[in-house]
Symmetry: C2
């Protein structure tokens, strides 16, 4: 049933364990790399989702040479594993100038800025040459210069081009509001709007700098669904390597694309309320929720592994609450009879990036372990 | 202002860092130990909140000799640090029978059960003597035998007493639904109801076992607020050691009792929408939210450290969204002018247990570091 039972637990799992379906992950990588190639856009995948040199190698095998990360420690880790062209897609943290300096001396380093104080600090403190991307806010309202703030865009472009060791690489956005979309059309509309806004911001900048700026976009929902890449030079999706329940419900992947799950010991079974409780709580799954099609707030779905893969999703068996170490799962009566205390229940996470961040290694379905940074 | 600025950052913080105000934590421990002593109840604090041998030592200095943990690995860690009387307040995980066996051989070990299969497995597999608590559900509906399921309560008590190496210790509950309460009266009413339900379940059990069973309760809201402990033998609160924004809003602590915070570099400042963005996201704060008094969903509050302590809460500056590495904070215009990119913003977490679980050490306000398990 919906568990790896004794005979299906050849690795002797005793505690919540992060499982990785390598076939699915490699298929996801190949598909996105192929899509970028066909569209003629440069593929600079975000490695914050997997944070593993071994998984990075699978990208290399698909022709990837340049990557995105979200912190300088991640940049150091991947630089130590042979990556030579990295963008840190996070507004520059001025408190880590020493790390920036050291990294810029050994790799081609891209940084993000969205303010004059940040550009001035880089101009003042850095000796090494770095690429600088202008982070543009095209509607997400998290970080970035507003696409419709021409004076600030121009002032930043001028400040960057005035400094010898700063190279204006282009304009970069993350349309994170695509995660709030509730239909494929809405996601595609966010994509089109973001690209148009970036192109408009570029015109403003090119009119004062005279430089040709690149356009970089990247979030898994739009990169998975969009077909029209006119105007875009580079894409930076990350989550697609594993996908998750949130992407499934957004329509950006199929259930059989989800490549990670958490194997959790069943520690309680409650027939009256048709629930099981697993050893697997917020510290094992991460407390990210999403509304399911019935509007309930859920934290994951039970899945039925079938030997070689993470198998099929049981969408009638959602994780309905998480405390520190407990996960509570609704289970239909038909399935409940086949689950016993001491079984392993396997749960697909709502947001795989946050779930994986809680572990130091992946257990592959063939028993091999893969470490993370 | 609401930050540790350069001169206030003597430890050179560069990345999100967990801060611990040791004076507040020690005061919280003393207060709860004193309350238990006065009430004549045994104090078996839950160590899942801090997971640190050093913090454990502060409890020892207040006379604590027995503790609660939520996993066998936590039990092993504290057993290795000299604790000899531990209850694992989590329904027994049958997949860890080897660890149970080894622990039971070296310490006084208490386990939780709420099902016949679990009791039978313990009876069958264990050679060592263990204490067994019946986990009772008094209304939280997470785990436990229903307080109003007399047949199951009796069957479990009989099965336990029939087995030589299982000792029926008593009835134990966690009234986690107190976290959903919205007033002090509601919390006190949950406390009274839980105790009455446990006493009723005990009568049912004593009528067949003839044994005197202990009553153990433990959640920070009720243990902080209740004064009437009639009928209760033992309390097991944990979160109170650090408290957090959730407890503050529940009314179970004061702002000046909150003993942990996360120091986060400011990486963006957005005057138009009166927000700052910090390097400090879901992987640094944990994505737990709570409604604030205005009904907004918040993920923490900015605080203003004042040298020796974590200082005062800025309740007009809530963390309003978290992504993987970013935290977005609303900041009133009056404070915004004093914050610059490159400053450190200090954030009080919504749920300190989950936040602390993301770190391997605490940085105390005197610069000392304390490790976690």
């Amino acid at each position: 049933m919906a568990s790896i039972t004794d005979q299906d637990n050849p690795w002797g799992i005793q505690c919540p364990t992060l499982l990785l379906d390598t076939q699915r992950a490699r298929r996801n990588i190949m598909a996105m790399a192929g899509k970028a190639r066909q569209a003629g856009v440069f593929f600079r995948p975000h490695f914050k989702s997997h944070q593993s040199a071994v998984v990075g190698q699978w990208f290399r095998e698909c022709g990837v040479t340049a990557i995105t990360v979200s912190s300088l420690s991640m940049a150091e880790y991947f630089a130590n594993h042979g990556w030579r062209d990295l963008t840190v897609a996070f507004p520059v943290n001025l408190l880590e100038m020493d790390k920036i300096q050291k990294l810029a001396a050994r790799i081609e380093l891209g940084l993000l800025v969205d303010s004059l104080p940040a550009v001035e600090a880089l101009a003042r403190s850095l000796q090494q040459r770095v690429k600088v991307w202008l982070k543009v806010d095209t509607g997400y309202r998290r970080t970035g210069v507003g696409w419709n703030q021409p004076a600030l865009l121009q002032a930043l472009a001028i400040a960057i081009t005035r400094c010898d060791h700063l190279e204006l690489a282009g304009l970069l956005t993350h349309s994170g509001h695509s995660y709030q979309a509730r239909s494929r059309d809405e996601i595609l509309s966010i994509h089109r709007q973001s690209v148009l806004r970036l192109l408009s911001a570029r015109e403003v900048i090119e009119s004062v700098s005279g430089l040709r700026c690149k356009i970089s976009v990247g979030d898994t929902p739009t990169c998975s669904l969009a077909e029209d890449w006119a105007g875009v030079d580079e894409i930076r999706p990350g989550n697609f390597v594993f996908f998750d329940v949130m992407q499934l419900l957004l329509g950006s992947c199929r259930a059989e694309d989800i490549a990670v799950a958490v194997a959790c010991p069943v520690i309680g079974k409650y027939e009256q309320r048709r629930q099981i409780v697993v050893y697997g709580g917020a510290v094992h799954l991460a407390k990210e929720s999403t509304p399911d099609p019935q509007g309930r707030c859920i934290y994951g779905y039970l899945t039925v592994p079938d030997g070689g893969s993470l198998g099929r999703v049981v969408s009638s068996a959602p994780v309905v609450s998480l405390s520190q170490e407990h996960g509570v799962i609704d289970v239909p009566a038909t399935e409940l009879g086949t689950i016993e205390i001491g079984d392993i229940a396997t749960i697909l996470p709502v947001h795989s990036c946050l779930t994986c961040a809680l572990y130091r290694r992946y257990l592959c379905l063939d028993g091999r372990e893969i470490t993370r940074m």
